[in-house]
């Protein structure tokens, strides 16, 4: 055991603390090339990460940068700086600590490059930017340690891939660099260790004491949850009662729109004027910071929030977490629960509130999963090549490079360890010439090779490349502010703004505002006293229920009785069992029944919201081909319901795996979700510029043109790298075809078709579900024609317009 330096031992003693076992473990293994610490929130995780650094720097002999700390949130970097300063100042250690994020001033940033501090706290994007400068080798030369905080959150996204590529780069500049990852509880620590380590070097995994199991239950309410919807308004009195009984409550929601609506309803019922705030990603930074500050001061009894509070600053006094709506994912639920009670070795307290009847089932399944420590997660695919393309361009910004060296460096990164040289070369070619089958840009290459080394043809291009660093998807948001004021209220999606007409009301930051107009891409609003707003459709993230949780729900359906469910839900499922049958993991249940004079068919695929949506697109297309005239569909995490003019008599051919796969390969190419996927990857890979001046004016214009680029590639260059990447990405995310594959493998073509003369109990909630999709194509064109004709008629313009005499000339089209 490595003894704590005396000054540290004294400091611990003076505070009446003793070192946690996992902090000692980290100190003992400080020389390891890579370490991953799994610890619950409040376990002194950050100090465990920093102790070896502080010990090594204590004698004041190290010059230059010693430790880099990377976290997913800017706010976290600033918070850690504050927290680290306490021990450093108490012990009078000769250590300089600074942070560097998008908010750091230009002067400060410049100075940091010339004279770096001992400890630099930053984000993945700021680090990627630092590695793009020509002076990176000098800045990082003496770097000893890198600490990646909340690595479980980064590891799930492309931000993590970008960070690990940057680590590969740093390792080359500072071969002695040791890596440390700090993670919350995850289902597969080894997968994260494999991402963190510098292949083939190992990564040891340390587990802190996970602490006591959480105290978690479903909220008991007087009223039963409704059949559909996500508002959970029925639970407001019970939630308010819980808020009253606790010091500080975090009320988590799955989407921003739901958070806004719930907050609004909560205030209408808040007769005691309990101080309750709201916090989500669409609110203006100033507004979020005000809420955070009030929270730190202990001024708030509750905060209605979204994933924006999943990570971040430790709120000391939170003693209850309420999750509104089905948790969708057990791992995230456990991490959210951990936000309550940061005292080590005290159980966190949490309550689940299902928003509708089906979510009752999902909540019970999630509770059982938490008790069984059965966390979920999907294995990550190979390293995304759009991120690699960006990394190649970043490398080129820093100076000429050798392709063999870069390939070797990239394959030390876990996610890219299996990358073939051919795949790497494809990315390099894409960066150099665009990689088109038509060789077009030999004269205007982006990267050129001189004396064996690759470099930017035009060094000025580095400015654009740096401006486009990052992998966070930016939707087209427009700012909202009060008329005549410059203080922003927050942001809404441009698509939503486009549907507003003056006089419409919507919710933002818990206030009802009236839309006045759009001015230079800013939405101007005034306060409105109305009681009921037109609801803001923030996109937010719509999580899909995880594969493991879906499987658990299917297992629950097969129970002989439903005594573990509340009576109202048990009765509903019993009724379904009598009228039809329960869905099973190994079979696809299909139910057909007439409703409202139209044949309806429900496919219980249990593949998660995104995949069920894709399934709806594929099935309706196939039905169109078979002249079943589908009119529309609606999807949830567990089922897709389609209605049309003709009844489905034999669903088996519709679900034929070969047809579905073929539809994915061909027809889906033309679909908006594929185009969105393409746009995201093309922006990361540097094909489209994020900050293109003309695209800033209207985000919509950029959407338009990336769609055209996509169509052009599909038509003229179907094997292009960007299309390969788009198809890979479509296995996950919005399209999520991987989950459809999982469903097909699980059910192997076994279909049970039940036909009834009216809606079945399990299908009933689907009739109330929002988010209906009208079948596009022929229908959309007809809708446009009818709408324009109606407008001509209504205006009377078709009467007064001078028209040529009867024989109209027409183009045979």
């Amino acid at each position: 055991m490595r003894p704590l330096p005396p000054v540290f031992a004294d400091w611990f003693a003076s505070r009446g603390w003793s070192i946690h076992p996992h902090q000692q473990d980290m100190l003992d293994r400080a020389e390891a090339p890579a370490l991953l610490l799994i610890a619950p929130t409040g376990g002194g995780k950050t100090l465990a990460g920093f102790l070896p650094t502080l010990a090594e720097l204590a004698d004041g002999t190290h010059t230059g940068l010693h430790t880099l700390y990377v976290s997913p949130l800017k706010a976290l970097a600033a918070d850690i700086k504050r927290n680290l300063r306490t021990p450093v100042e108490d012990m009078d250690l000769p250590i300089r600590i600074e942070d560097r994020t998008g908010d750091t001033t230009a002067t400060q940033k410049k100075r940091q490059r010339a004279d770096p501090p001992h400890i630099l706290l930053t984000t993945p994007e700021s680090l990627a930017l630092l590695t793009s400068y020509e002076d990176a080798p000098r800045m990082f030369k003496g770097l000893q340690r890198i600490i990646v905080d909340e690595i479980h959150a980064l590891a799930e996204s492309k931000r993590g891939d970008q960070l690990m590529l940057a680590l590969g780069r740093l390792q080359k500049l500072a071969p002695g660099l040791r890596r440390v990852g700090l993670s919350a509880t995850v289902e597969n620590p080894q997968a994260i260790a494999d991402q963190l380590r510098c292949h083939p070097a190992p990564c040891e995994i340390l587990h802190a004491d996970p602490g006591p199991d959480p105290d978690i239950a479903m909220l008991q309410t007087e009223e039963a949850p409704p059949w559909a919807g996500g508002g959970a308004a029925y639970a407001i009195p019970a939630v308010l009662e819980q808020v009253r009984q606790h010091n500080t409550t975090l009320i988590f929601h799955n989407t921003r729109a739901q958070a806004e609506i719930f907050f609004h309803n909560l205030w209408l019922a808040n007769t005691d004027d309990l101080p309750i705030g709201i916090h989500h990603g669409s609110l203006a930074r100033e507004q979020r910071e005000r809420v955070e500050a009030a929270m730190v001061r202990g001024d708030l009894k509750a905060i209605v929030c979204t994933g924006s509070l999943d990570l971040g600053i430790d709120w000391g006094d939170v003693d209850l977490v309420i999750q509104i709506g089905a948790p969708k994912n057990v791992k995230r639920l456990v991490q959210r629960i951990g936000r309550a009670n940061h005292r080590y070795n005290a159980p966190s307290k949490a309550l689940l509130v299902p928003a509708n009847r089906f979510e009752v089932v999902e909540c019970v399944a999630a509770l059982e999963a938490v008790k069984a420590h059965d966390l979920d997660g999907d294995p990550k695919g190979p390293g995304p090549r759009d991120v690699l393309c960006q990394h190649i361009l970043i490398t080129a910004c820093a100076g000429p490079f050798d392709a063999d060296d870069l390939y070797t460096e990239v394959t030390t990164v876990g996610a890219f360890a299996a990358l073939t040289r051919v795949q790497f070369d494809d990315c390099l070619t894409f960066c150099a010439t665009g990689g088109y089958a038509l060789r077009a840009y030999d004269k205007w290459k982006r990267l050129k090779q001189t004396d064996g080394l690759w470099h930017l043809r035009d060094p000025r291009a580095s400015r654009n490349i740096r401006m486009n660093i990052g992998t966070i998807q930016d939707t087209d948001l427009v700012k909202v502010r009060y008329k005549g004021s410059y203080r922003p209220l927050g942001e809404i999606e441009e698509g939503f703004a486009a549907t507003l007409t003056p006089g419409d009301t919507f919710l933002i930051g818990g206030k009802i505002v009236r839309y006045d107009g759009l001015r230079e891409m800013t939405v101007e609003v005034t306060r409105d006293a109305a009681k009921k707003p037109k609801i803001a459709t923030f996109m937010g993230t719509k999580f899909a229920t995880s594969t493991q949780l879906s499987a658990r729900i299917l297992r629950m359906f097969q129970q002989t009785d439903y005594t573990n469910l509340p009576p109202h839900t048990a009765q509903w499922l019993d009724l379904q069992r009598g009228v039809s049958r329960m869905p099973q993991a190994g079979r696809i249940l299909v139910e057909s029944f007439p409703h409202d004079g139209r044949p309806h068919t429900v496919f219980y695929g249990f593949a998660g919201r995104n995949a069920m949506q894709t399934l709806g697109l594929l099935l309706t297309q196939r039905m169109e081909d078979l002249n079943l005239a589908p009119l529309g569909f609606v999807s949830t995490d567990y089922a897709t319901m389609i209605w049309g003019l003709e009844p489905v008599t034999d669903p088996e051919p519709l679900l034929d795996p070969a047809h579905l796969r073929q539809g994915f390969e061909t027809w889906l190419d033309g679909n908006a979700v594929m185009k969105k996927t393409f746009r995201y990857s093309a922006t990361i890979a540097g094909l489209i510029e994020r900050n293109l001046p003309q695209s800033r004016k209207t985000g919509r214009q950029a959407t338009f043109s990336s769609d055209i680029l996509y169509d052009t590639l599909v038509k003229y260059d179907p094997d292009h790298l960007m299309l390969q990447i788009t198809r890979e990405e479509a296995l996950r995310g919005l399209v999520d075809f991987g989950r459809i594959e999982e469903m097909l493998t699980r059910t192997k073509g076994r279909v049970d078709h039940v036909t009834r003369d009216r809606v079945t109990p399990l299908a009933a909630p689907l009739l109330l579900e929002a988010g209906r999709v009208t079948i596009a194509g022929e229908g959309r064109e007809r809708m446009l024609e009818e709408e324009t004709a109606r407008l001509m008629e209504a205006s009377g313009l078709n009467q007064i317009e001078v028209k040529p005499s009867k024989p109209q000339w027409r183009v045979g089209w």
Binding site: G434, F704, L709
Partner: protein
Amino acid sequence: MNGGYSFTLSDRTLTALPSGALWWDAHRLLCVSDLHLCKSERLARRRGLMLPPYETRETLDRLGALIDRLDPAQVICLGDSFDDLDAAAAMDEADTSRLCLMQAGRDWIWIEGNHDPGPMDVGGRHLNELRQDSLIFRHIATPHGSGEISGHYHPKCSPGRGGTRPAFLIDCARVIMPAFGAFTGGLRATHPNLKALMGPNATAVLTGRRAMPMPFAAAC
């Protein structure tokens, strides 16, 4: 069958085609605007962006299909036909010969635009503007023009739902044409520059499967 939208301008009957081209039957005249050929080449040269270099082929495919179908005697390209003069010089050989084939046996007129202000090394006549009968073809609309057919603004329109489309803007004095080129964005018809040019009873004709007229005022 679906088709174009016919209207009169200075007593001449013209047809706005669903593809965004304009047809003058009396002269068998086809007019297209803002082709922006070789746009990707210019973006690569000037900004280091490597967009798919297929837009020239795509635009010529569409134009070729129209010419095959209509067999015009006269073709007017209403300016910004090339993304810049260097781009015209850099055009791919296959595309150049494609263009030559289309030009054979027709009166082909290039009107100068702000992107291509000067003669280019391609066949056809190069004019600043063209008067024919009571109509005038020029790249940018003038405030007091009459019988004026122009392009430049790439107008696009939305009827409120169902999406946005490139559109012709038509009133009793002028026609502003949509861009015909493949990689061209658009300017919303609500833009003040366009509102200032068009009269109160103007019509917007959306392109698509068929030409779809709607009141310009409803798009604003």
